[in-house]
C-alpha cells in the first residue's frame, strides 16, 4: 500500500506498520473511550430534552436546546462575566509575568531560590488557592481588611467578595496569582532565546536600557506572549474551581460565569440536554478563540 501522508516518499515496511499499530493501540483506546466518544456522545445528548428529574421521557428536540440557550438572558450575562474575567486575568498575568521574567533573566545571587519559590503557586491545588483567598478576603477577620486598616487606607472593615462591583476582580486576582508562574516560565524561555549580540548591536547604536527593552526585548517576545495568551485564555474561559468555592456565582449574578452556568444547568437543574448544549458551545468558543489569537498574533511573527 502506498503511503497516504505526504511525509514519506518510499513504501512503509509492513513490520513497521504492524509494530506502530501495536504501540499506538493503548493510547488510541484511551483517547477514543475518554475523549472522542464523550465529545460525540455529548453532542447526541444535546439534541434531546434529557432531564434527570423526568428520566422516562426523553424527547428528541433537535437543535432546540441551543436555541433555548441563546434566548436565555442569563446565558448572555454569563458570557459577559466570562469575557470580563478573562480579559482582566490574561492582561494582568502578562504584565506580572513579564516583570518576573525580566527579573529572573538577570544573573544575581539568590536567583535560583526565586525560581524554585515561583513553582509554589503553580503546584498547589486550586482548592487550597481558593480557601486561602477566601480567608484573605474575609469581611470579618481577613488579612486584606487587616492590612488596609493597619496602613490606614480604610477606617473600618469592608465587604469584599460580597460586593458585586469587586467580586470578579478579586476572583481574577486569585486566578492570576496561581497562573503567573507558568506564564513567567514560558516568557523566560523566549527571553533566553533572544541572541545576545542583538543587545550588543543596540548598545553600540546608543540605545539605553529602556530603548533596548522597547525595541529588542518586547518585539522578540511576541511568540512567548502569543503562547501565554492562548494558554491562559483557554484556562480562564473554562475556569470553575474558584467560582465554586469563593462565590457560587454570586453575589446575585456578579460572578455567574459560563462554566458555572454549565454546572448549575446540569447538576442543580438536572437538565442534561441544555447542559450538554452549553458545554458544547464552551468547547467551540475555546477552539475559536485559540485559533483567532494564533491568526492575529501569529501573522506578525
Amino acid at each position: 500500500m502506498p503511503p497516504v501522508g505526504g511525509r514519506f516518499h518510499y513504501p512503509v515496511s509492513a513490520y513497521d506498520q504492524r509494530s506502530a499499530m501495536v504501540l499506538l493501540a493503548p493510547m488510541m483506546l484511551v483517547l477514543l473511550a475518554v475523549a472522542v466518544f464523550p465529545v460525540l456522545y455529548s453532542f447526541w445528548v444535546s439534541l434531546f430534552d434529557l432531564k434527570l428529574t423526568r428520566p422516562l421521557r426523553v424527547p428528541f428536540v433537535g437543535l432546540e436546546n441551543y436555541v433555548h440557550v441563546f434566548r436565555d438572558a442569563l446565558f448572555w450575562t454569563s458570557v459577559a462575566r466570562t469575557a470580563t474575567f478573562t480579559v482582566m486575568s490574561v492582561a494582568a498575568i502578562m504584565v506580572i509575568a513579564l516583570l518576573m521574567a525580566l527579573l529572573l533573566n538577570e544573573q544575581f545571587r539568590g536567583r535560583r531560590v526565586l525560581s524554585a519559590v515561583l513553582l509554589i503557586p503553580w503546584a498547589i491545588p486550586y482548592v487550597a488557592n481558593a480557601l486561602m483567598w477566601k480567608w484573605i478576603y474575609d469581611s470579618g477577620y481577613g488579612a486584606l481588611n487587616g492590612l488596609l486598616y493597619q496602613l490606614d487606607f480604610i477606617d473600618k472593615y469592608m465587604v469584599w467578595l460580597g460586593d458585586t462591583r469587586k467580586t470578579l476582580a478579586l476572583i481574577a486576582n486569585a486566578f492570576v496569582w496561581k497562573e503567573v508562574p507558568l506564564a513567567t516560565i514560558l516568557l523566560l524561555v523566549t527571553m533566553k532565546s533572544i541572541p545576545a549580540d542583538l543587545y550588543g548591536a543596540a548598545k553600540v547604536d546608543g540605545a539605553d536600557v529602556w530603548r533596548r527593552f522597547m525595541h529588542v526585548t518586547l518585539p522578540l517576545l511576541r511568540p512567548g506572549f502569543t503562547l501565554v495568551m492562548i494558554y491562559e485564555t483557554m484556562m480562564a474561559v473554562r475556569h470553575f474551581d474558584l467560582f465554586f468555592i469563593l462565590t457560587e456565582g454570586g453575589p446575585a449574578d456578579a460572578s455567574h460565569v459560563v462554566a458555572w452556568e454549565v454546572y448549575v444547568e446540569t447538576f442543580r437543574r438536572l437538565s442534561f440536554g441544555t447542559g450538554s448544549a452549553l458545554a458544547y458551545i464552551v468547547a467551540l468558543v475555546t477552539f475559536l478563540l485559540a485559533y483567532s489569537i494564533i491568526r492575529t498574533m501569529g501573522r506578525k511573527l
Partner: protein
C-alpha cells in the same frame, strides 16, 4: 566611581525586585500557614495577628487523632460555636481523603506512562501510515476543556455503575493527562537521533526492545517530568471529583477541603490547617524536582 555606583544601583534594584517577588508569591501561603496555628480566640482578632501569639496544634490534632466516636446527632455538633471549638467532626475525613487522592494519583501516573510511552515512541521514530492523523488526534484532544467532558462522563459513569468509585476518577483523569504526556514525550523522543533507533535495529532489537533498552534510559528526565505533572494534576483535580464522588469512601482531598470552606460554623484556623496539609505534598515535589518541571513545562509548551 560611576561604575561602582551603577553596580550598587543595580544591586539595590535587584534586591528590591526580589523582595517584591517573594512577597507576592509567598505572603498568601505564609498567611495560610500562620492562621493554621492560631487558636479560635486569636484568629478572630481585629486587626489580625500576623504571627500567632499563642501557637497551637489543635487544628492538626483534630485531623490526625483517629475518631472512634460514632457520629451521632449529639457529636455531630462537636464543632458547635457555643463550645468554642469550631472544629468539625468531619475533620477525620481529611486523611482518608488524602489516601484516596494518593491512590488515584499514583494509579493515573502509572497507567499514563504505560499508555503514553509506546505511543510517543511510535509517533516519533516509526514510519507508518496514519502517523500524522494520530498526531492531530492527540493535539485536538489536548484542547478539549474539562467542563465539556463533565456531562457525557457523568452519564457514562452512571451507566457503568461507577459513581462514587475511585475507578471513575482514574479513568477520566487519563483523558486530561494522556494527550499532554504524549505531547511532551513525543518532543523528547524526536530530539533523540534516529541513528540510535537504526543501530538498535541492526543489532537485532525488535521495536519494543529498542524502546525499552535504548530510548527509555535516555528519556528518563522527561519521564520524571511527565510523571510529576500527571501526579500533581490528579492530586489537585476538583471538577470531575466533585461530580463523581458522593461519600467519604471515594471523596478525594480537594472535595473534603472544599466541603469545609462552605460550612460557616467551621473555624478558619481549622480550614487553613486543612489547606496546609493539602499544599505540603505538591510543594515538596515542586521544589525537589524544580529542574525537571521547568524543562518539561517549556518543552511541552514551546511547540504547542
Amino acid at each position: 566611581m560611576t561604575v561602582t555606583l551603577r553596580r550598587l544601583g543595580r544591586r539595590a534594584l535587584l534586591t528590591a525586585a526580589s523582595v517584591l517577588f517573594l512577597t507576592y508569591v509567598l505572603a498568601p501561603v505564609a498567611w495560610m500557614a500562620s492562621s493554621s496555628f492560631q487558636p479560635e480566640t486569636e484568629i478572630t482578632s481585629v486587626p489580625p495577628h500576623w504571627i500567632p501569639h499563642a501557637p497551637t496544634l489543635d487544628n492538626f490534632r483534630a485531623i490526625f487523632t483517629t475518631g472512634e466516636k460514632a457520629v451521632t446527632y449529639e457529636t455531630r455538633r462537636q464543632g458547635d460555636p457555643a463550645t468554642g471549638k469550631f472544629i468539625p467532626s468531619t475533620a477525620k475525613n481529611l486523611l482518608p481523603g488524602m489516601a484516596n487522592s494518593l491512590i488515584v494519583a499514583l494509579s493515573v501516573a502509572g497507567l499514563n506512562l504505560l499508555v503514553s510511552i509506546p505511543a510517543a515512541y511510535a509517533m516519533a521514530k516509526v514510519r507508518f501510515v496514519g502517523r500524522s492523523a494520530s498526531i492531530y488526534l492527540m493535539l485536538t484532544t489536548r484542547v478539549i476543556p474539562d467542563i465539556a467532558l463533565v456531562v457525557p462522563f457523568f452519564l457514562f459513569i452512571r451507566k457503568l455503575g461507577l459513581l462514587d468509585n475511585l475507578a471513575s476518577l482514574i479513568i477520566t483523569y487519563l483523558a486530561i493527562t494522556v494527550p499532554f504526556s504524549v505531547f511532551i514525550l513525543l518532543g523528547y523522543f524526536e530530539s533523540l537521533p534516529d541513528e540510535l533507533d537504526k543501530a538498535a535495529r541492526v543489532d537485532g532489537c525488535s521495536r519494543l526492545q529498542a524502546l525499552l533498552r535504548v530510548f527509555l534510559p535516555l528519556a528518563l528526565p522527561s519521564l520524571v517530568a511527565v510523571t510529576l505533572f500527571t501526579f500533581l494534576t490528579s492530586w489537585n483535580e476538583f471538577l470531575l471529583a466533585l461530580m463523581f464522588t458522593q461519600t467519604p469512601a471515594s471523596q478525594t482531598m480537594p472535595i473534603i477541603v472544599a466541603s469545609f470552606t462552605s460550612d460557616f460554623t467551621i473555624s478558619f484556623s481549622f480550614i487553613n490547617a486543612a489547606g496546609v496539609l493539602a499544599v505540603v505534598p505538591p510543594i515538596i515535589l515542586a521544589v525537589m524536582f524544580e529542574r525537571y518541571i521547568v524543562s518539561g513545562l517549556t518543552a511541552g509548551a514551546v511547540k504547542g
